[in-house]
Each structure stands twice: as C-alpha cells, then as structure tokens.
C-alpha cells in the first residue's frame, strides 16, 4: 500500500478530500489480498473507509475485440481465458449461444450434454477450491490453501485427462465435446466422488467453526436482498442474501431440470453467509456429478452434422468427404446465420451470459460477455464505506472476483 496525502491521478474530482481528516490511500494493484490486479482508491479516516472507488482495467486484454477477429471455434480459445478459474463454464455458455444461433440445439448428443454438465460442475468445485484457499489466506489461515489446492489438483487431473490441458482444456465445443472421455476416466471420477465428502468435512473442520474466522466474517460486508438485486449481484453473493436465483433452475440448460439438487441460500447476507453458501454449493455440485456419472451411457459425443462439427479424426484417413469437411472447418470455419442471442449459464461466480451477434459470416460479429465478477465487484462501492480496511479485504475475498473476467 502506498500512502499519499494528495489525491492520486486516476481519481475523479468527487473523491477529493472534503476536510483535513481524511486521507487518500491507494490499495493495490499489487496488494496480495486483491486477488489479481485490483486497485482501490480509498478515502479513509483513521482505519475507517469513508469512500472506496475500485479502479479496474489493469488486466484488460481486449478479449471481446480479439474474438471478433477469430473464427467461431477459434474465438473460444480466448473466451476460455476470461474466467481462468472456470474456463469450461465460459466455453459452455459461448457454445450454447452459438448453437442457438445455428439452430442445432436438438442435434447435440445426449452423452455430450451429460459430459458438459460433468465438466461444468467439476470446474465449479475447482473454482470454489481456489476461492476458499485464497480467502483463508487473506484472513491468515494458511493451511486450508494446501487442502483446497490438493482437492483442486484432483479435478484438474481429470480435466487434463479429458481435454488435454489442466487450465484451458477447450473441451466443450460447438456441437458437443472434443473427443470422448478417455479410458480410466470414470474410475478416477468414481474415486473422487467417493472421497469428496471426507474432503469437504476436512475443509469445513478447518474454517467453519474457527472462532477467529467467524469473528472476521460474521456481520462483515452485509448486503440486503434489495441491495443485492439492485447491484445485480448473482451467484453465491446473491443467494447469501436470500434470493434463490440460480440460472440452472430459472432458465434450465443442458437438462439441469432433470437433476436433483438444492439451491443453497442464507438470509444473513454477510461474508460468512457467502462462505457457507459456496461450501454448500460444492456439495451440491458433487451431487450433480454423481447423478451424471450414473446416467452416462456410451454414445457419440459430437454432433454428426459435419457442416459445423468436425468429423471424427479416425474417419479422415479413410473418407474423402471427412477430409474435405475437416479441411474446410479448419481453414475457413463455419458460417452462422445472422441473428443475435443471449445465453446464460450459472458460473461459479454467478450468471455468466453471452450476447452474441452474427452477421452470417465465419467470425462472430460481436461477443458481449455479462461478467458476473464485474458486477459483484462493483458492489464494493456500496459495501465498504463505514467499515475497517481489514474488513474490506474480507469483502473482496467473499465476492470472489476473477480479474481476467472483470477486465476482459
């Protein structure tokens, strides 16, 4: 943190000091508890925040602009990098939007849909693991980080086995998923499902009843239901304030209406409530994974419509048509009929939406993301005033922002 008695350059004029007692403090963008590159211009009196103005954009990489200049399939590569903790949620939402525009939702094989739900829920658990570990570190609880990352590593191993990469597997594709689950995947998944409840007990035992953790989080950063809706909070942040809005239930996609799962909610709306909601969500996510595991049957994992779905690699060596289609899809992509569509999924951080416009070409005309982190983070402006700086750290952690997504 750097301290300055005069207002710093990027501030708007309204943050200028009103009287001699307040001080302007720039927190970040290198502060470890800001989970990335967040700068908060704080106006403080003693330790109390009078006004907080988050400054974002340090990680702006122009992903939406880049996506407009890539083929529909290529664009997914950069889109997965927005929310780098839950790449498969981004890919899934984008694919759902493109499939709607193509009008091929009915052509997605059942097994592909099941696998999509599987990876989306696993990625939710992995993302919450990172949140829990780093949230613990923010509050001085170091051990939980290692337990969380160990559990996350199990999921990333599965992700690597299925998609070929730990972080950005690019596994969900338009038309299905890229290749079937490899041999031995289900055995490893079964092992994970079996040991997961024990792992969750460990994680809960480490923090849930910890008096220091409770002191730091209970009644900190309280958001009422009205405020939460007004700030457009979504995901666990909204549900911790009592509003049980979950895209999986409100606008079911990928057959989520068939699964049995609860939408955990709390009424308190404080940082501890958000902590509990996310922990419960991890349990629910694994419940869905177990149901998917039971429902998995052999079958195709990619649409057979070669106009947008690449034919299976094995057929390329023996079928001229397959080779031609493959060549066309790789060299010039596929075309999407003109139109605009909004598709949304329940990402780990909230409603992740894509407003996609096509002009009939082989590249997206516009890909607008509705980034849940952006809006969740913005609520800090309303939450922080009147609280201590130390509590601000708790609030940032409990909102779980990912800056790849906030800044895009």
């Amino acid at each position: 943190m750097s301290v300055s008695s005069t207002p710093l350059e990027p501030l708007g004029s309204e943050v200028l000091l009103q009287d001699g007692n307040a001080m302007v403090l720039s927190m970040g963008p290198q502060h470890p508890s800001t989970h990335g590159v967040l700068q908060i211009m704080l106006e403080i009196e003693g330790e109390t925040v009078v006004k907080a103005e988050p400054e974002i954009g340090y990680l702006h990489t122009g992903i939406e602009k880049t996506a407009e200049n890539l083929f529909w399939t290529q664009a997914q590569t950069v889109i997965e990098r927005m929310d780098y903790l839950a790449p498969e949620s981004n890919a899934l939402c984008y694919c759902l939007a493109v499939e709607k525009l193509l009008g091929v939702e009915a052509e997605i094989p059942e097994r592909a849909t099941l696998i999509r739900v599987l990876v989306a829920e696993l990625t939710r658990i992995a993302s919450h693991c990172v949140w829990l570990g780093t949230h613990g570190i923010d509050l001085g609880a170091l051990s939980i980080f290692f337990y969380c990352f160990d559990l996350r590593e199990n999921i990333l191993d599965l992700q690597e086995a299925a998609g070929g990469a730990r972080m950005h597997p690019n596994y969900v594709r338009v038309g299905g998923v890229n290749g079937d689950l490899p041999d031995g995947f289900l055995t490893r998944l079964d092992a994970l499902i079996e040991k997961f409840p024990g792992r969750m007990r460990e994680l809960r035992a480490l923090l849930q009843k910890n008096p220091i953790f409770q002191d730091r989080t209970i009644d900190v950063g309280i958001v009422s239901a009205e405020q939460a809706v007004g700030w457009a909070l979504t995901g666990p942040a909204l549900r911790a304030s009592g509003v049980a809005y979950d895209v999986r239930r409100a606008f079911p996609y990928c057959g989520y209406d068939k699964y049995e799962f609860d939408v955990p909610t709390r009424k308190e709306g404080d940082a501890y409530a958000r902590f509990l909601v996310r922990l419960d969500e991890m349990d629910e996510a694994m419940r869905i994974v177990a149901q998917v595991r039971k429902a998995l049957r052999p079958g195709p994992t990619m649409s057979s419509n070669v106009k947008f779905a690449p034919p299976p690699k094995e057929t390329i060596a023996i079928s001229m048509e397959a080779l031609i289609h493959h060549f066309k899809l790789v060299s010039e992509g596929f075309r999407v009929p003109p139109g605009d569509v909004y598709a949304s999924v329940e990402g780990p951080r909230g409603e992740l939406g894509y407003y996609v416009v096509s002009d009939g070409g082989n590249r997206p005309y516009r890909v607008r993301t509705r980034p849940p982190s952006l809006y969740n983070l913005q609520a800090l402006k309303g939450m922080a005033p009147g609280n201590l700086i130390a509590d601000l750290v708790v609030m940032i952690g409990s909102m779980d922002p990912v800056f790849g997504e906030v800044d895009r």
Partner: protein, 198 residues
C-alpha cells in the same frame, strides 16, 4: 486515433438483430433514444429490479451507428425461494443511437449501470447524460479512440517502432569468421588465462 491504413472490418451486418424472432431467449423491444429513459423507468416500476447487463454493438454502415443493449430481469427485491422465482421474465431492450448522440443514464435506477455505462463510453465512445462519473474504465485515462468500434484496428493504433539495437543490424556473419570487437577481446583474455595456467 486509429490509423487510417487499418483495413475496415468485414462489417457486412447492417442489422442482424431483427431477423431471428425465433430465438426466443427473451422478450425483445426496440426503443428510440428519446423514449429510452421513460421506457426503462416504466420497466423498473413493473418489477424489473435487476439490470443484468448493458452491452454495445457497432454497425458502422447503419445510420444510427450503435446499438446499446439492455438486459433486464424481473426479480423480487426480497428473500425468495426457487419456487417463488420460477422462470423470471427477461427482457432485452435495444436502442439504436447515432454517433455523437448521448443517451440518458440509468445509473440512478440501477446502481450497477454505473460501470456498465462507463465501459460502453470507454470502448464505444457513447456518452451517457447525467452519469455521475463518465470516464474511462478499462483503457488508461489518456487513451485515444474507442477499441470496440469496428474501424479500430485489432492490433491497436499504429505506433512508431523502437529502433532496432545495433547488434541486430549487422546482418548474417558467415560461419568461421573470426570474432571482432569486444567478444574478440574477451576470447583473447581467456586464451591468455589458459596459457598462463598451462
């Protein structure tokens, strides 16, 4: 400013938004800039309590160049269960706005419009009248141009390149050429040292 030699984007789209009413992902409405504020106020009082998102699209070949796209969600503003929420109404309000025309802000109706409108100003250059803090949000404050406009080059504005360092200008040296300059001096010193050891 974006460099003039940048190739214009494909931009074949004049208005693809109205051609696919079959994609019923939301109720869709188009309003004029003049009636936008009144319509959104009415929607807010109808119970559209959450402003999901504001996005922008650039159609350079259209008279009203930009589309500003509001997504609203009808949610209760108090605790509600999954059953009480059910499938909430979602509405998309599109507003075509010409270049250099400002839209009325809605940041007083929905608090989260604050950053969303700033982002549209930053990346498209559409101003919002009455916004409390209309400045750039993603790009640096001194940035010129609006990157998500279709005429903005993908790789950014043309910049003067830094001069190549001296060593890069020497071209290829054929193999076996004895070293010159400082490296020759260093080699010489090493040889002397080795001779000395022997």
């Amino acid at each position: 400013m974006p460099s003039p030699q940048a190739p214009p984007m494909a931009g074949t789209a004049i208005d693809p938004t109205s051609v696919r009413p079959d994609l019923a992902d939301a109720q869709i409405e188009r309003v004029a800039p003049a009636s936008l504020r009144a319509r959104l106020e009415a929607l807010k009082s109808e119970g559209y309590a959450m402003l999901l998102d504001i996005g922008g699209v650039d159609y350079p070949r259209r008279d009203a160049r930009f589309d500003v796209v509001y997504h609203l969600l009808k949610l209760p503003v108090s605790s509600a269960t999954v059953q009480e929420i059910g499938t909430p109404n979602r509405i998309r309000v599109l507003c075509a706005v010409p270049e250099n025309v400002a839209l009325p802000t809605v940041s007083d109706l929905w608090k989260n419009a604050d950053w969303a409108e700033r982002e549209i100003f930053d990346l498209f250059g559409i101003r919002f009248d009455g916004h409390p803090d209309m400045r750039r949000i993603q790009m640096p404050t001194h940035w010129e141009g609006h990157p998500l406009r279709k005429d903005y080059p993908v790789r950014g504005p043309a910049r003067e390149r830094a001069p190549r360092p001296d060593f890069a200008n020497k071209g290829n040296v054929p193999a076996g050429t004895p070293p010159t300059g400082k490296s020759a001096q260093v080699l010489e010193e090493q040889n002397v040292a080795q001779d000395h050891k022997r």
